[in-house]
Symmetry: C2
Subunit: 254 residues, 2 copies
């Protein structure tokens, strides 16, 4: 397909590279800033622009890969004719596209994308939705060309999936950062936590996490919990967080 | 070494199997309950007892692998003579052993142990501490016989390591469980979260987690955050947790 990428962040970059690798043509890249537009265009060997009205109309598909808040503004800055337009956002309903486009949908690769870390798309779940069954077929084909894991979800389900991911990915990563912070305080390197973090994640492949909970809270071990709360005396925010999550674990396993 | 294992939980089981595999002799197993003592003794092909005073004295080492709260009671139930005694607890100082034993230390394998999931000890950090340098040498040798990753930490450091692990492992696992819970509510299988969970963990191998934070909070994306808080209206505990962790991410990255 001839694709125009609107956005040049982590998702746009990884998705663009995956599409190119699978033989699609990224015709043009747009970004608000010249620098990021030029950088991604260089990686994808295509022209770029920072002016939405100047985007070429010679495409089969526009992929809007900007933050949820920017989607509305991007949509209002040009006319989209008959060409299909998709956004890539978890928590924005497909209906946001309806006032602007005739053929539209959502193409949501469900993964965490970080600068400089290439993601193998093959196993990334791609959640799709479209306004007609014909458009859904187009997106299905595109999704299958880059991933073996294509899922059909409506906007309500997708929003819940995104919410679940905030807990199980974004918040999890922040807990890793808290672990690193606590070790640094005593001059201990983060290295020691790595085998534990990897094993904790690996366990979910075969076991429901609720069945493999370990630690002082699931044993309701007040002695250890109180020791930890005392250690956190100088971190009221962490103390509060520790108490709250422990309480929820205790309630869940009671 | 001729080792007596006191305790028959997840840690005692995995440690016993690893020791056996590396040619040590588990002479005897003790547990409070007949059933768990017999089960572990069967796995380790050795006798068992449920009476602490009846444990044989023909050992080179006693390993106390019971919960933090039970260590004191175990120690007080027999005399330990000159034989070396170690406990395996993260948050209990080595000094708990001093009133009861002459040769003592701590042998703390830093990993999450779950029933039925065998752990490869080779890369598990084993944190050791002992009351004399001679005893430390004994523990060093033992630790090196099962792991390539042996670390010397004192009780204060070990306690902080354990605290960091509660955030980065036990609490993380509960966030996985919350993710599963939220998906179940909308009839969506946990399967879809697995690639994301594994990638989030994999990122820490090469990057500090604070540098690879993604999600609405690090972008301070109030639109998405407000949508998620609205979705959590019927879960006041999760709404509170969502707000708190998001706020901490926003503060960290401001």
């Amino acid at each position: 397909m001839r694709i125009c990428l609107i956005g040049a962040g982590n998702l746009a970059t990884q998705l663009g590279l995956a599409l190119l690798e699978k033989g699609h043509q990224v015709v043009q890249v747009w970004s608000r800033t010249q620098k990021s537009a030029a950088e991604l265009a260089f990686k994808l060997r295509c022209p770029f622009t920072t002016e939405l009205p100047l985007i070429s109309s010679e495409n089969d598909l526009y992929i809007i890969a900007v933050s949820d808040t920017a989607i509305g503004s991007v949509l209002s800055q040009r006319t989209w004719d008959d060409t299909m337009v998709v956004h890539t956002a978890g928590s924005t309903p497909m209906s946001i596209l309806a006032p602007y486009c005739k053929n539209f949908g959502v193409f949501y690769p469900f993964q965490t994308f970080t600068i400089g870390k290439r993601v193998e798309f093959e196993h990334v779940p791609v959640c799709i939705e479209a306004n007609t069954s014909q458009n859904l077929d187009v997106l299905k084909k595109l999704a299958h060309s880059i991933s073996q894991n294509v899922k059909l979800f409506d906007s309500t389900q997708r929003q819940q999936i995104h919410l679940a991911a905030v807990f199980a990915c974004n918040f999890v990563n922040h807990l890793y950062a808290i672990g690193e912070e606590l070790l640094q305080e005593k001059g201990i390197g983060f290295e020691i936590l790595k085998p534990l973090i990897l094993e904790t994640a690996a366990k979910i492949v075969d076991q429901s996490p609720v069945n493999s909970q370990t630690g002082p809270a699931v044993r309701n071990d007040k002695t250890v919990i109180d020791k930890h709360l005392a250690l956190l005396a100088h971190h009221p925010d962490l103390k509060n967080l520790y108490r709250q999550i422990s309480e929820r674990i205790i309630q869940t396993h009671k």
